[in-house]
Subunit: 131 residues, 2 copies
Amino acid sequence: MEGMSDDLAYDVFARACPSRGTLEHVTGRWGSLTLGALHDGTFRFNELRRRVDGVSEKMLAQTLHALERDGLVHREAQQTNPPRVDYRLTPLGREVAERLIGLIQLVEGRMPQVEAAREKYDAERAAPVTA
Amino acid sequence: MEGMSDDLAYDVFARACPSRGTLEHVTGRWGSLTLGALHDGTFRFNELRRRVDGVSEKMLAQTLHALERDGLVHREAQQTNPPRVDYRLTPLGREVAERLIGLIQLVEGRMPQVEAAREKYDAERAAPVTA
C-alpha cells in the first residue's frame, strides 16, 4: 500500500485502506461531535442526543454503533428497571477525542478570522475587480 | 448561545452556530484529506486529485471552494499559458491542518487496535452469549 510515509502500513489517502473508514467515523458530521461530547464523561442515549444538538435518533444510533465497533466507545447496559444504557469512551476513544477537542477548540477560537474571510470572499465575488 | 464552556462565544455543539459548518468543512470526508494533503505543500488541482484518492472532480472543486471561502486555502491563478492554478494552505489553514495530521497519524497508528475491536464486535454479534 502506498503510504504517506514509508514506515506507515495504513494510509488514509488510499481509498481502499481501512483507516479511511475509521477516519470518517471519527471526523464525520456526527462522529466528531459525539466523541467530543463523550470527552466530558458518561452519557445515556438521550443525554447525548440533547448534547449533540440536531442529531436524529437514527443517526446517533448509527454513529454510536460504528464508534463502538471501532473500539472507541464502550456501551454498557445497566441491569436496572427500566433498563439503562450508558456510553463512554474507551482509552483509545479518549486519545482520539483529545485530538478532536483540540481541533474543535481551534476552530471555535478562529471563527472571527473565518467569518472575516467569508465576508471578504463573498464581497469579491459580488463585485469582481476587472482589469 | 449555550457554550461548551462559558468563555467561548462559538459552540460547535449548537446546531445554529457558524462554527459547526466550518468544522464540517474541515472534518468532512474530503475536507480533512484535502487539508491533510496540502499540509505537504502547494498543489495544482489535478495533483491534489491524485493525492486524495477517490475524490471526484466535482467534490474536490466544492471542497476547495468551501475551504477557500473559510480562509483556510489560498487559490492562486498563475498568469501562464496554459493557465495554472495553485492551491496552498493559509497560515490559518496550516494551524488546522497540523491538528488534522495529528489526528490522521493517530488513527493510522491505532488501526491494529481498531481492527481487533471490529473482529471482536463482529464475533460477539455472530455468536451471542446467552444467559
